[in-house]
């Protein structure tokens, strides 16, 4: 077995291990709001996630994967041999996967994205040299980590304010809900579809060139179709006067429940598009080196790599994710669909736009930002600020830990591998 095959096999194994971890742990956060608000059952959530995570990974995951595999490290440095890149990427994968494993075991909040980026920067800066890192790009990435939760929070705030004004505080909320929710469905579907068509498809081998005008038309068409289907199901919801006596908004929430199914698909899609890169980016780098024998900055991303990542996530979700989703969903029971959708739509849109611009963001932190945005719009009964503080702490801790582990594994591989 020649060197190249060994590397590719190792990278694939580590990559799948990482993808599996993402599927097992991270996806639960993406689907948590849907399950907690009872818009979807756990089984439905897993099916939705499986389909849309995979689609997101393949159709829209290319740009971020490119950033992870070649945007962060500067391979033009003289001392940067192909071998070093391979060792480094393998080390980064193993480091991130290990940290993910340890943290989940202990129930610590950890971001897969922060781990892998920290790991890559770690091995490159220490293992090869300070100049081996595109610090400008890294700076952009760190900025995106700050901007994405803020943006998601802002969008969620606006969405929920509009829901309160247009529907919840009105005289007859049910009729208002039936009127406006299809519009929200349209907006959700339109945004996600448009960003995908404009940015994501270029990495899919079989996608042809679509003009800008046609992209918009296609997105509008798909969104209208989805909105009409949604409107159909919404019309069938009847008011239940007896249940309404106990809880006035119970039927209104059911209408929002339909909207949440759409946003749940969008969220799974967005998550797949952004997080697949955490597993597949390093793998793609190794594959490129192993196939060409040298580091080529212009090598295109093979689609099968994205497919492998998507499949890994789905397997992780199917095997372990069920248990995690159940646990998380149990604890978010008072997040009703009207609030849940606002947070989810804001997060999904932000993440998909980030994926489109190639920025690897933390999906969990973006979702947390969105939830806080809804909270600021007075939509959440109680938010525990201590936990928010703890999340910021973990944010800071993960990057050096990921870097440290990657450095350790890097020197180990350099010594041990051919």
């Amino acid at each position: 077995m020649d060197q190249g095959t060994v590397y590719i096999t190792l990278a694939a194994l580590f990559g799948i291990f990482m993808a599996w971890g993402i599927g097992a742990n991270d996806v639960a956060n993406a689907m948590a709001t849907s399950v907690g608000s009872k818009a979807l059952t756990i089984k439905q959530a897993i099916i939705v996630a499986a389909i849309f995570e995979f689609l997101g990974a393949v159709l829209a995951g290319g740009e971020v994967t490119d950033t992870v595999r070649k945007g962060i490290v500067d391979t033009s440095l003289p001392g940067f041999t192909p071998q070093l890149l391979v060792y480094g990427m393998l080390a980064a994968l193993l480091a991130a996967g290990t940290w993910l494993f340890i943290a989940s075991r202990n129930g610590w909040p950890v971001s897969t994205t922060h781990s892998i980026v920290g790991a890559i920067v770690g091995f490159a800066a220490v293992g090869v040299g300070i100049d081996a890192v595109h610090w400008g790009k890294v700076g952009e990435i760190v900025m995106s980590w700050v901007i994405s939760p803020l943006t998601a929070g802002f969008i969620a705030y606006l969405i929920y304010q509009s829901v309160q004004r247009l529907i919840l505080s009105q005289e007859d909320p049910l009729s208002k809900a039936k009127r406006y929710v299809p519009v929200y469905i349209f907006l959700a579907a339109f945004t996600i579809t448009l960003v995908t068509i404009l940015k994501g498809l270029k990495h899919v081998d079989f996608a042809t060139e679509i003009s800008l005008r046609d992209s918009y038309l296609l997105a509008i068409g798909i969104a209208m179709a989805i909105a009409l289907i949604g409107a159909f199901f919404i019309q069938r919801i009847e008011a239940d006067p007896k249940a309404e006596k106990r809880e006035h908004f119970i039927t209104v929430e059911r209408v929002f429940g339909i909207l949440m199914i759409v946003t749940a698909c969008g969220m799974a899609f967005a998550h797949g598009s952004n997080d697949v890169a955490n597993a597949i980016g390093p793998l793609a780098a190794v594959v490129a080196v192993a196939q060409n024998g040298a580091i080529s900055a212009t090598a295109t991303l093979p689609t099968w790599v994205l497919v492998l990542g998507g499949a890994g996530i789905v397997i992780g979700l199917a095997t372990f994710g069920r248990h995690v989703i159940a646990t998380v969903g149990k604890n978010i029971t008072h997040l009703t669909p009207s609030r849940g959708f606002a947070a989810e739509l804001a997060a999904a849109t932000t993440i998909v736009i980030a994926s489109g611009t190639g920025m690897p963001v933390s999906t969990t932190h973006t979702l947390v930002g969105a939830v806080l945005g809804v909270g600021l719009a007075r939509g959440i009964d109680a938010i525990d600020l201590r936990v928010v503080a703890r999340i910021f702490v973990s944010w800071v801790v993960t990057i050096p830990v990921g870097a440290f582990l990657a450095i350790v594994f890097f020197f180990f591989f350099r010594a041990v591998l051919p």
Partner: protein, 224 residues
């Protein structure tokens, strides 16, 4: 990691507050069978009602403590924490007054004078109505949270509070009438019994007063 998202949500005080007012009301409701039995001189039955009152008041107290523990200062809510705690406090007083007044009556095996017995029972029922209206108002709390404390829901709750005010005013009038009726016959009663009867009327009237204060506290929440 999964915990990150789940733990962000602190335990909501809304449902526990609604449960608490329900218990306080159930407690006050017991005054009807209690006083009916006392007037009839059936102290065994009255004793059972008194036990129920005691049990419910104790349950309300425990729930109150539990809610307080679950509302640390680090919780970020749409309304100030202090306002919710004060609402809870005044809800609890409904149960406390109920226990106090039933305690005095059963302790002395107090005989309500026949001349004012019927009037007094009506007075008791009207106070229970006030407690019921307070419960109805507080039960709108989760809808208020959903609607973001604005719009149609606020109008609805303000209507309920206005009705609560009317009931409380009614009890004030009835209380004045009762005191007058008692004054008419007080010379024919044992002096100590007479004094305690005034006390019992006063304490019973405070149940509606506390209910009205619940309405006031709720109104303060609405003004945010």
């Amino acid at each position: 990691m999964a915990n990150m998202l789940a733990n962000i949500f602190g335990s909501s005080p809304v449902k526990p507050l609604e449960k608490h007012i329900d218990i306080a009301y159930q407690c006050a409701k017991q005054l009807h069978p209690f006083f009916k039995a006392s007037v009839a001189g059936d102290w065994e039955k009255a004793g059972k009602a008194r036990e129920e009152i005691s049990r419910l008041e104790h349950e309300a107290d425990n729930l109150k403590k539990d809610i307080r523990i679950r509302l640390p200062k680090s919780l970020f809510m749409p309304v100030p924490r202090q306002d919710l705690l004060e609402l809870l406090l005044v809800q609890d007083k409904i149960a406390n007054r109920t226990k106090d007044v039933s305690g005095i009556v059963i302790g002395r095996k107090m005989q309500i004078p026949a001349e004012i017995a019927e009037q007094f029972l009506e007075f008791v029922d009207r106070n229970i109505d006030a407690a019921k209206q307070a419960r109805k108002s507080v039960r709108e709390l989760d809808e208020l949270f959903t609607a973001g404390f604005k719009g149609a829901e606020v109008d609805l709750v303000e209507g309920l509070i206005e009705e609560l005010d009317r009931i409380e005013t009614d009890t004030d009038d009835k209380q004045a009438d009762l005191r007058h009726a008692l004054f008419e016959i007080e010379k024919s009663l044992d002096p100590i019994d007479a004094v305690f009867m005034y006390k019992v009327i006063e304490l019973t009237g405070e149940i509606a007063d506390m209910a009205e204060r619940v309405g006031r506290r709720l109104e303060l929440l609405l003004s945010h």
